[in-house]
Point group: C2
Chain length 313, copies 2
């Protein structure tokens, strides 16, 4: 983990959590009071919005492009806004867009977090699932102020049902998380932790990851090829270097929720993009997850979505 | 479960939680805002205090006696206090006192909860562990207004490390818990749920419970006999009909935390009672958990505590 992320965590820097989702919930308890502000990518992971919103915060969305969160826009907001308590980011194979932040932006976020003394949650559930290109160091690896926290999980690389993730960071902050977790649920499932520990001891998880990366890469290839083949050429979409998602932008004014309703009649589903924007919904977007279906069904599903979109346009 | 509790829950009335502790945390999210008031037994389960306190509530302690929470005192508080959002109660083999509420008080709490329209959390982690006497119906079984929620767990009867508990109640309230749980941790451990489901299908859990009840009953017997034998006769203690705990009251002015320090030097531990009072600590009390040690070590431990107490007095 340290090797992958470019970090130097030891056991006092890590709390095992009930999935990385619990790390987000505990972050709300540790950092947020009613009225505080969280900065996030626009769009961002929808269940991070619900986890943090429970603590009465509001969200300021920072625009993104193919290189991640736009640092000029972020700095502008940091300079002019009070009560910012957290910056939430998914820099690698982002959910929902599949995009990956450039090295430069990773460094810059660590710098700004130190300069404005704001905590960062670097959420990294998909980082191990790289299909091509060079791995990039984590934001945490550039963190000189101890403000960056990393979350990760065994859900995407071992077994989702186990609900074993982690939160890692400065040991004084992690100590707060430990106390807050005690009140929340006492502890994680002991048996699941033992199974994972034994697996890591006796098996080669990197070999297992290589196997699933191969499966997902082929599915990504099929998905992208089908979008190119079946969708109208005016439609924009991302071509992720890893992870589970591609993000589709329809022309303005075409509501993905209506496309979804028609697709559901034909037994095909996707997640409409509006829910990934905490404030202004951009309803002409949707997320495709290509990871969970065999290739022939990916093709069939995308052909149907393509037909529905063409009809609608 | 319905048979034991005298309830009529079906699947829409139940949410599986990460241990019953998570049910308490989610209750804070569902019911509490900053400044709200929770009523509880004095003393009460200490981790319920930390779970709910995270949501900014304060506690009003209701006095208890050998028949449970005192209903006159409760009604007085209900009549004169605003912003009461929850009543938290452990009516069977209470933590920390080991006491069990009378039938009359169970009925009365359900009545008052309807009359003042306040939600009740009936926490029941130990109810199955009855050594003698007749089982009593749950508070929920007298609930005509749909205000009572029940929590329970497999931790004390199957395997603590699995972290599988439940919250059960009116289906409109449970629907809120479901939404709140999604934001908190998405879902429980799937494998643990499958293992428990298979166990319940293929094995006789009541036979397993009878086995552990037999073990704990013998340990309770040894613990009570040793307290009588080794403790000064002026000391009060409870003789529970089930569960894991007996509660000891030292004469006024004798601080259990100091007794604990001396006992720890001799490798014996207990939980000082002060932490079980959310407001005014009554430091001359402590909780003994007799469930986790073989009988010879229970005797040895209580002999040492008795000696330390005698020396101190």
């Amino acid at each position: 983990m340290n090797q992958r992320l470019g970090t130097t965590f030891d056991k006092d820097n890590i709390l095992v959590t009930h999935g990385s989702q619990q790390g987000l919930d505990l972050s709300g308890k540790v950092f947020l009071d009613e009225g505080d502000i969280v900065l996030c990518e626009s769009p961002t992971y929808l269940a991070a919005i619900s986890a943090l919103k429970a603590y009465g915060c509001s969200f300021t969305e920072i625009p993104t492009d193919e290189n991640g969160m736009q640092m000029d826009a972020l700095e502008e907001v940091l300079r002019h806004t009070e009560n910012i308590k957290l910056i939430y980011a998914i820099p690698t194979f982002q959910n929902p867009t599949g995009r990956t932040w450039s090295l430069e932006r990773r460094k810059k976020l660590a710098e700004l977090s130190a300069q404005y003394n704001v905590a960062v949650i670097e959420d990294n559930p998909y980082g191990e699932l790289r299909f091509e290109g060079e791995p990039l160091p984590s934001i945490k690896s550039f963190d000189t102020a101890g403000n960056v926290l990393c979350t990760g999980s065994f859900s995407k690389i071992f077994c989702p049902g186990f609900r074993i993730g982690w939160m890692a960071g400065d040991k004084d902050i992690i100590r707060k998380y430990v106390l807050v977790k005690q009140g929340t649920d006492l502890q994680c499932n002991t048996i699941a932790q033992m199974v994972i520990a034994k697996y890591l001891e006796h098996y080669d998880i990197d070999r297992h990851i290589a196997k699933i990366v191969d499966v997902y890469k082929r599915r990504r290839n099929v998905a992208i090829a089908c979008i190119e083949k079946y969708f109208p050429p005016t439609i924009k979409f991302t071509n992720p270097e890893g992870g589970l998602f591609t993000w589709v932008e329809l022309p303005e004014g075409i509501p993905a929720r209506e496309i979804l309703t028609k697709c559901l009649e034909k037994k095909v589903a996707f997640v409409p993009g509006g829910s990934f924007f905490p404030n202004a919904n951009r309803e002409n977007t949707f997320r495709i997850n290509y990871s969970n279906m065999p290739e022939d069904r990916i093709e069939k599903g995308l052909r149907i979505i393509g037909e529905v979109v063409r009809e609608y346009m």
